[in-house]
């Protein structure tokens, strides 16, 4: 009787390897399947672990039970020597169909188990997912944070470009950045000392260009409201321009950016025919300059301010000569330092004396 039972039992005797995943659960796996993983194979041969439940092999942290199941399915198929190459390929293609999150987990787990064929398979699948997608699509698929500033996205372009117009633009950016930094320092220093004029450039210009009567009116209590509104507006537009810029600058360190710049430059050059050597307005200049909240929107604000400067400069140069003289000197010494109020109510916006002429009495 006993013999008969043994005879029946014998063919069923397989050896198993015991594996423990990071969450503590222990699984029993056929030996030939588990040994297909180099890491497990090594553990068994070097330390002799895995032969029983108490001595289960601890798998790396990146392998959770669900993923382990997938990996073992892969091993179970591929460790059979009888399959043809075609069969293996078909299996692989079906096997790899899963959502992106699982695919990434699987890649990571296969790597920690040193299962190179599976790592190659999953890497190829991930490459196929990435290929041809726009950056936004890739970020969405893999949950990547969009944490590069506009400036950083542009940086490779800045390093390599040899177009003089873009170099000029970069210089203007650099200068503006410096000025804003200095302003910030001064702001911090003189924080309580002088009431700041936080009017927009627009206001100031309209004031300069002869809206004399409005001076006292514009310099406002409307300020704070305006600023807040503009800040929100700024944030909206900056994200819009960010995505616009993304599309423009997509194949990043390459000639295309130059090409788009060239187009923009040519377009604007025709507009401001006298301003042929000025950088064109490629970014939308609809955005109003925000003076007060520089820290939040540094880069888009800087850009928009620059557009503003450029456009205004052009506009002003196209107007009459005497005015132009004043405006020219105005433009050069444009330091937006805190403004001191005179008792007579006129504003000394700039240190340049000529302005006081305009503000008049």
């Amino acid at each position: 009787m006993f013999d008969a039972a043994m005879a029946v039992a014998k063919p069923e005797m397989k050896s198993y390897i015991w594996l423990q995943t990071v969450d503590g659960s222990i699984q029993q796996v056929e030996e030939e399947v588990a040994m297909f993983c180099p890491m497990i194979c090594q553990e068994v041969l070097q330390t002799g672990m895995g032969s029983s439940k108490t001595y289960a092999i601890s798998l790396p942290q990146r392998v959770n039970p669900a993923i382990l199941g997938l990996i073992l399915d892969y091993c179970r198929f591929h460790q059979v020597p009888g399959h043809s190459n075609k069969e293996r390929k078909t299996f692989d293609e079906k096997f790899i169909r899963m959502d992106t999150e699982k695919l990434c987990e699987l890649t990571s787990a296969a790597d920690s188990l040193q299962l190179k064929p599976l790592v190659d398979l999953t890497s190829r699948a991930l490459a196929r997912i990435i290929e041809g997608k726009t950056p936004e699509e890739i970020r969405e698929t893999f949950h990547l944070p969009d944490d590069l500033t506009e400036e950083e996205k542009l940086e490779p372009l800045r390093n390599i470009t040899d177009d003089p117009r873009i170099r000029l633009l970069n210089r203007l950016y650099a200068r503006k950045r410096k000025e804003l930094k200095e302003r910030k320092k001064l702001k911090d220093v003189e924080i309580e000392e002088e009431p700041k004029d936080e009017r927009s450039v627009e206001d100031l210009l309209s004031f300069i260009n002869g809206a004399d009567g409005d001076i006292k009116g514009t310099r406002s209590n409307k300020n704070k409201k305006k600023n807040r509104r503009r800040k929100d507006h700024a944030k909206d537009l900056s994200s819009k321009t960010a995505s616009e810029n993304d599309k423009d600058l997509n194949p990043l360190p390459s000639a295309y950016c130059n090409a788009s710049f060239d187009n923009g430059l040519e377009a604007s050059a025709s507009k401001h025919s006298r301003m042929q050597n000025l950088p064109g307005v490629n970014f939308s200049p609809k955005f109003e300059f925000v003076d007060g909240d520089v820290d939040d929107d540094l880069d888009p604000a800087m850009k928009e301010e620059l557009d503003r400067e450029v456009e205004d400069f052009a506009r002003r140069l196209n107007s009459d000569w005497p005015e132009r003289m004043q405006i020219l000197s105005l433009g050069q010494d444009r330091r937006l330092v805190p403004i001191s109020m005179n008792s007579n109510g006129s504003m000394h916006l700039y240190t340049n004396n000529s302005i006081s002429k305009v503000s008049g009495s």
């Binding site: 890497s123 990435i130 041809g132 890739i138 990547l144 590069l148 600058l249 194949p251 360190p253 390459s254």
Partner: protein, 421 residues
């Protein structure tokens, strides 16, 4: 935007995996990953394989425009790259000789380049700068449409395993010296050479692929050669040379390759081997030779047939035989010397392992029929014999078939398949 996003799935994978993913992407897509997020900014910059093909810049019909943007792109990528570059490949038909390539090769020579593939466009051949010869770690070199001139002090590439020169302007001495100075060379491929007489000394060579107008090929020291594929073109010069030659080419070429496993000969190769064959007693057996493919064999030339017979009888383990006749219609209509076959029939060689025979471009000439008879009578393990006639001439084919049916077969399993359109 990032309100309901889950955790970052991919950025924390090991760098080796990210690199292998990036290498699988076209170079443009790989570089674009730099604006994905702060972690991804420089991940692409350390990939060790850079492959530039026709698709890495936008298409334009103007070659100069494409060339300019290619040059800009490649220069920028190299400039932004960090770390060693193991593989650098340019296969772009619009890129021709331009000065920037010199700088790229210099840059690569300083960054541990191992595999260099340059396939430039038609037009002016690019002259490879001397900095290439300083690439000490080079294991694979593939050049197309270039000019190569090694300096006198060149000591060879100590690590080079694979060399492929296609339409390269280089002096024959230079070729021989490069080959002999690369001790680890395993694979050699030379194509589109003019009037080259070549002596090859490459003790580690395993694969040899030649195509061009070769006057003479001597395999002096290639004991480990396993696979040979030769296509020899003919010019008047070479034809004359053949006529005047008193060498035994068979010995010169195949005398020192006992480990040969596969032999492929095209165009005039069989003719080349046939020179001097009369006087030969074959010294060696090719015990590993399992596949023989000979194309454009002239079945009117008894010497060429002799070449085939010699090869077959020296290869006891031959499994697959493919012979393609030359499609020249015979000039002479006189009766061929069929005594030749009687002589051969006296030898008792049996082709014990021959399983598959494919004969194409068969014109039904007497020698061809005799050859088929010969094969059928001596191949006890033959499984398929397929015959493709070269002309669709019903009468001719009928004659062939009638002859074939008469043939005695040593193999009971043999299927004779006459493929006729």
């Amino acid at each position: 935007m990032s309100e309901v996003m889950g955790p970052d799935l991919i950025s924390d994978l090991p760098q080796s995996i990210i690199e292998s993913i990036l290498v699988l992407l076209p170079i443009r897509d790989a570089v674009r990953t730099s604006i994905l997020s702060s972690k991804w900014r420089y991940k692409w910059a350390s990939i060790t394989q850079l492959v530039f093909d026709d698709k890495c810049v936008p298409f334009s019909n103007d070659r100069v425009v494409v060339e300019k943007s290619m040059v800009k792109f490649i220069t920028r990528v190299l400039f932004l790259h960090q770390g060693p570059i193991h593989k650098f490949q340019i296969t772009n038909s619009k890129l021709q000789s331009c000065p920037e390539i010199d700088q790229w090769i210099l840059f690569l020579s300083r960054n541990g380049i191992k595999e260099l593939v340059m396939e430039l466009g038609e037009g002016e051949f690019f002259r490879i700068p001397s900095s290439l010869f300083n690439c000490r770690k080079l294991t694979r070199l593939e050049l197309s449409r270039c000019e190569l001139d090694p300096p006198h002090s060149f000591k060879g590439f100590a690590c080079l395993r694979s060399l492929s020169l296609h339409q390269v302007l280089i002096s024959p001495d230079a070729v021989e010296s490069i080959i002999s100075r690369c001790p680890l060379l395993e694979s050699l491929s030379l194509s589109y050479f003019d009037n080259l007489a070549l002596t090859i000394c490459a003790p580690n060579l395993k694969g040899l692929y030649l195509e061009g107008e070769f006057k003479d090929i001597c395999l002096e020291d290639t004991p480990l050669l396993v696979e040979i594929s030769i296509a020899m073109y003919m010019t008047e010069d070479i034809a004359e040379h053949f006529e005047q030659s008193s060498n035994c080419n068979f010995l010169k070429f195949l005398g020192g390759v006992p480990n040969l496993e596969k032999l492929v000969g095209l165009i005039y190769f069989t003719k080349y081997l046939s020179i001097g064959i009369d006087s030969v007693h074959l010294p060696i057996m090719y015990n590993n030779l399992e596949t023989i493919e000979l194309y454009q064999v002239n079945f009117e030339d008894a010497k060429e047939i002799l070449v085939i017979l010699h090869l077959i009888t020296s290869s006891p383990n031959l499994k697959e035989l493919q012979i393609s006749g030359s499609s020249n219609t015979p000039v002479a209509v006189d009766i061929p010397d069929l005594d030749f076959w009687e002589k051969e029939c006296l030898s008792d060689s049996i082709l014990n392992k021959l399983k598959i025979v494919k004969l194409s471009e068969m014109g039904g000439w007497p020698h061809e029929i005799e050859f088929i008879k010969y094969l059928l009578a001596r191949s006890p393990m033959l499984e398929t014999l397929s015959i493709i006639p070269c002309v669709f001439d019903v009468e001719n084919n009928l004659k062939m078939l009638i002859e074939l049916v008469k043939c005695r077969r040593a193999s009971t399993k043999a299927e004779v398949i006459f493929i006729h359109e």
